[in-house]
């Protein structure tokens, strides 16, 4: 079984006798979505794996705080997002907002699980140059193809603000790519 509905999972999670079974079903259902969400934030597979595991541990230990007012998926995304941001803050990568390619470029080139061509590597570095919150919005919309309404619930931000943030991110990325393409040609 690849996925299960919130209702099936919650039914198992509510009973302490079936809690672990429910938790296993929760992981099975959401692990891929959450992994890719985290991976786009932290880039590296090993880091993404660590953050994903920490996310699930937080979910396991903090399930009693989930009041079932929102979708399970929304709650999990929030935890994964917070874990990713905390991880990035701790790691303090050497990427600067002004577009200087340093740590991210090296990190992606060294990542054995990155198969992109030069254009994709450049795009990835352009995304890395964004401020963290803007990067989060860009990733969720561009790679995750998430509707603005859903993003609004997860990030607790208005749809209008998210649209504006995405638009700014796109423009910054275009500028970054044009500048660095020119650098490469020179």
């Amino acid at each position: 079984m690849k996925s299960a509905s919130d209702e099936n999972i919650l039914l198992l999670l509510r009973n302490s006798a079936t809690f672990e079974q429910g938790f296993a079903l929760l992981m099975q259902t959401f692990q891929e979505q959450l992994y890719w969400h985290i991976r786009r934030m932290v880039n590296d597979h090993e880091d993404a794996n660590d953050v994903l595991q920490n996310t699930f541990i937080k979910v396991f230990r903090g399930y009693n705080t989930f009041e079932e007012k929102s979708k399970l998926y929304t709650w999990l995304y929030r935890i994964a997002t917070n874990e990713s941001l905390t991880f990035l803050q701790k790691k303090k990568t050497s990427i600067s907002i002004d577009g200087e390619i340093s740590g991210a470029w090296n990190q992606l080139q060294a990542d054995a699980y990155f198969d992109g061509d030069a254009a994709q590597l450049l795009l990835q570095n352009a995304v890395e140059s964004l401020p963290e919150k803007q990067k989060l919005v860009f990733n969720m919309r561009y790679y995750g193809e998430m509707p603005y309404e859903e993003m609004s619930t997860i990030l607790d931000t208005s749809v209008g603000a998210l649209k504006a943030s995405f638009h700014h991110a796109v423009k910054k990325i275009e500028r970054f790519v044009q500048e660095h393409k020119a650098d490469e040609l020179n």
């Binding site: 597979h45 794996n49 193809e145 638009h167």
Partner: protein, 192 residues
């Protein structure tokens, strides 16, 4: 790529729209997702040996509505047909037990359940603790218990030993008691 995003990207950045058509450039090790659960459970056991204890909780769905809380607590019953059947049977048994005991309780209030002989015995032993007037008025409302504490006239009628005793003998007995000082003439008048 979904149509909504495609239109949005084409409008603001044809470059990103083209890039989106390229295949996914990140991958994961083979079988990675099959091992995630195992790794998480192993980490939980190592780092938090008592983790399962912290997860026992009462979920309060949609506010503090008591009915919803109760239904939420009982939802596991509906999860399996066996649990549903067992709980239905238990509910029927409970209702039967409750009805049985309620019927007995209704029919068996206070002295009505105590055997007559027991009441008689108790009253004989504790007669001094009651005022005779109270007992008479109480027994007047109890049809079945009238035989034991009755109006003196009724008692006279129904007590064979007193009926058998001759008036002369009674008079003689009273005179002897007055002579011995066991009873005064005033007391005797009051009794009569």
């Amino acid at each position: 790529m979904n149509n909504e995003l495609k239109k949005e990207l084409e409008a603001i950045s044809p470059y990103l729209s083209r890039m989106k058509e390229k295949p996914e450039h990140c991958r994961v090790p083979e079988g990675f997702f099959e091992g995630v659960q195992e790794s998480v459970f192993a980490k939980l056991k190592n780092d938090y040996p008592n983790a399962s204890a912290t997860t026992e909780k009462v979920v309060v769905p949609h506010g503090n509505n008591l009915l919803k809380r109760l239904l939420s607590e009982l939802e596991w019953i509906f999860a399996s047909p066996l649990a549903l059947a067992a709980s239905s049977f238990a509910a029927v048994l409970l209702m039967y037990w409750w009805q049985f005991h309620t019927t007995i309780a209704d029919n068996c209030t206070q002295l009505a359940c105590v055997p007559d002989t027991e009441i008689q015995q108790y009253l004989e032993q504790h007669l001094d603790e009651f005022e005779i007037e109270t007992l008479w008025s109480a027994t007047a409302t109890e049809n079945g218990s009238e035989a034991y504490i009755q109006d003196p006239e009724k008692t006279q009628d129904s007590a064979p030993e007193l009926k058998a005793a001759g008036e002369n003998e009674v008079q003689q007995l009273l005179e002897e008691m007055i002579d011995k000082g066991e009873i005064s003439e005033d007391d005797l008048k009051d009794i009569i």
